[in-house]
Symmetry: C2
Subunit: 120 residues, 2 copies
């Protein structure tokens, strides 16, 4: 996604905000992807080096911002049972990654201009 | 720049990175713009509610990443004298803001799709 040159990369980072609330951003999307990959909020949290409570808080914040659940927690409820993304959760991840790709494509020329001003 | 709807906005935030170094990002660009506006690093720091030392460190980091100076400090040197953007500094700010505009335009359709999934 990020474009390399002279060691510098341009990283687009989108935030979906409402006042102080951040419904979605790079960290939350990474968390969703890791939940998909590991099938577990606890394991995803571990990979991101955050506490389970912190991960759960991020999930709750997302759930408050979206109309439908992004994550389905298996029986065992909110504790350390399995978890997977819902169809909407998959859509949200895909749309967010598409935003990044579109931004990278659209900014290619301007980034090249900026690169000329950077040290190699 | 950010697009509003249902209270949520999509905010593109670009980072120019090299390893751990961040040559440019939202905070540094805001600092440059405030230096331009106020003619003073100290005053720009105050507006951003950061220490003068912190602002000076951000400026130094940028100077290390770009080929030419972004800021010209008036006599009085590194202390609390006046400061203004060089021509290259102006270019850097303009290019960064253009990245954001291009990203916002390019992602409009995808953002609309994502909005449909957000609570109003």
């Amino acid at each position: 996604m990020p474009k390399k040159s002279a060691g510098f990369i341009l990283r687009p980072r989108f935030r979906v905000e409402r006042g102080q609330d951040i419904g979605l951003g790079p960290g939350k999307v990474e968390l969703l992807e890791l939940i998909r990959e590991t099938g577990s909020i606890a394991e995803a949290a571990k990979r991101m080096e955050m506490s389970y409570m912190r991960a759960w808080t991020l999930v709750k914040t997302m759930e408050d911002c979206f109309r439908e659940p992004l994550i389905q927690v298996a029986r065992g409820g909110a504790s350390h049972g399995g978890a997977h993304l819902t169809e909407v959760g998959e859509q949200v991840v895909a749309l967010y990654r598409r935003l990044e790709q579109e931004a990278s494509s659209a900014t290619a020329d301007t980034w090249r201009e900026l690169q000329k001003l950077l040290r190699s």
